[in-house]
């Protein structure tokens, strides 16, 4: 959904903080690269490339809310459940990098901050929540969208909180942290509800036709069995 402050430009957060988060993000990406290679081997580049395009394109679809306002999907939770957290981290990172390089959306020195919030906190946060919810709930196909709903719902304010933490550490601004926190988290709780609805709808539509593609379902899908039918 519409994220007013998530793509941080350069100069908003000071350099030491940006560099620290750049290093953290680089470490996260290194882990994701290994994981994705293990999962997809030489298919990685074409498949992750096309899903990256998908996320990029998905963010262009407008979801009307009311009275002329509309929002778009962030896609962290959706990507994590559809293609797995490793590939999702890479996809979201590349979307963010290319947005910064080609569209000037988000700064270059600040890219570490953005990648950390959206590709690491967003994707892995929602992946963990999804795993926990999936564990508690019955292992049936129609519960996957429910788990996705909750994961997306929590993930968006979580990423916003991560931004507030960066703001608290290294913002060059005078607006008090508590004000920023209330504003960011309250708007992102609302955004999270929208994100959750769209994530759940999309997941259930994919599960209905190609459930074999959904990463979050693959692991627990029941094995095919041959049954004898009395005739």
């Amino acid at each position: 959904m519409f994220a007013p402050l998530l793509h941080i430009p350069d100069g908003f957060i000071n350099v030491p903080t940006s560099v620290i988060f750049m290093l953290l993000s680089a470490a996260g990406i290194a882990i994701a690269l290994r994981g994705a290679k293990g999962e997809l081997d030489d298919k990685t580049a074409p498949l992750a490339g096309l899903t990256t395009v998908f996320i990029f394109a998905a963010q262009m679809i407008n979801f009307p809310v009311a009275a002329g306002t509309s929002g778009h999907l962030l896609g962290g939770a959706l990507a994590a459940i559809l293609i797995g957290p490793y590939a999702a981290t890479l996809s979201i990172t590349i979307v963010l990098l290319l947005q910064a390089l080609l569209f000037a959306d988000g700064g270059l020195i600040a890219s570490g901050l953005n990648v950390f919030n959206l590709a690491l906190v967003g994707v892995w946060g929602s992946h963990l929540i999804f795993l926990i919810i999936r564990k508690i709930m019955p292992k049936r196909k129609n519960f996957i969208p429910v788990a996705g709903f909750i994961a997306a719902l929590i993930q968006v304010p979580l990423a916003a909180t991560s931004f507030v933490i960066q703001y608290a550490i290294g913002a060059e601004s005078t607006i008090p942290v508590s004000t920023v926190f209330t504003a960011m988290v309250s708007t992102h709780v609302l955004i999270g509800i929208g994100e959750a609805l769209v994530t759940a709808f999309t997941l259930s539509a994919v599960l209905a036709t190609r459930s074999d593609l959904v990463y979050g379902w693959k692991g627990i899908a029941p094995k095919l069995e041959i049954k004898k039918v009395n005739s």
């Binding site: 402050l5 100069g11 908003f12 990685t44 074409p46 990256t52």
Partner: protein, 222 residues
């Protein structure tokens, strides 16, 4: 960019020089000014945030027309706008003077992992294919009388996303098979490019060096 971000905003002369530097580059590169302006509108949410800033803060303050403005806040707000605008202008200059392919090649040279570069190049190669697919789906919906009005229509839009995902994924599989059948071994072949000449190095470092000089001279003069 690093030099700009570390310059204190009170050195306003340096900022004037930074702006004239980047504007000179834009003019030398003959970029259409209107496009540059339009694309820098992306910064607006942060400008709004910066405008709010003078109303917050502690210490020295001024009374302007019934509002209390804080010196600290004004400085921080101006700093965000100035630095942000410089950053955006820099990125716009980069993306309008270099093709996406050149930027990727650059990232590769800067030792971004090969897999990341490959994923990014696949993305750039197929972005038009997928957005065209999306546009066809939009036209199909519109020609059947669908118009997204509110939250009730989200289910339909989400099914569009689902279809788009499946088509993209399946295209990815087909592309991979097509690559295999043409002898893909897991590594993309690349044409060797000529190493940059010293003159090019000089051109590349000239702008950051100039900016650094300005920042230093400002500091020494004080």
């Amino acid at each position: 960019m690093l030099v700009v971000v570390t310059t204190p905003i009170t050195n306003w002369v340096s900022y004037l020089v930074y702006f004239s530097l980047i504007i000179t580059v834009i003019l030398v590169a003959r970029l259409p000014l209107l496009t540059v302006f339009k694309r820098s509108l992306i910064e607006i949410p942060f400008v709004l945030f910066a405008v709010l800033m003078p109303f917050f803060g502690t210490g020295e303050s001024y009374q302007v027309g019934g509002f209390t403005l804080y010196r600290e806040g004004i400085l921080a707000g101006t700093a965000i706008v100035a630095k942000g605008t410089l950053g955006v202008l820099g990125a716009i200059t980069l993306s309008s003077t270099s093709t996406a392919r050149e930027i990727l090649r650059g990232l590769e040279r800067l030792k971004l992992p090969a897999l990341m570069v490959n994923i990014a190049s696949f993305m750039l190669r197929y972005i038009n294919v997928v957005t065209d697919e999306m546009e066809r789906m939009r036209i199909a919906r519109a020609s059947r009388g669908f118009e997204a009005k509110g939250i009730r229509d989200w289910r339909i839009l989400a099914s569009v996303l689902a279809t788009l995902f499946m088509r993209s994924y399946e295209r990815g599989e087909r592309v991979h098979l097509a690559m295999l059948s043409r002898g893909f071994t897991g590594v993309l072949p690349r044409t060797p490019d000529s190493p940059p000449r010293p003159r090019q190095y000089l051109q590349v470092v000239s702008l950051p060096l100039l900016a650094l000089l300005i920042a230093l001279s400002e500091r020494i003069l004080r």
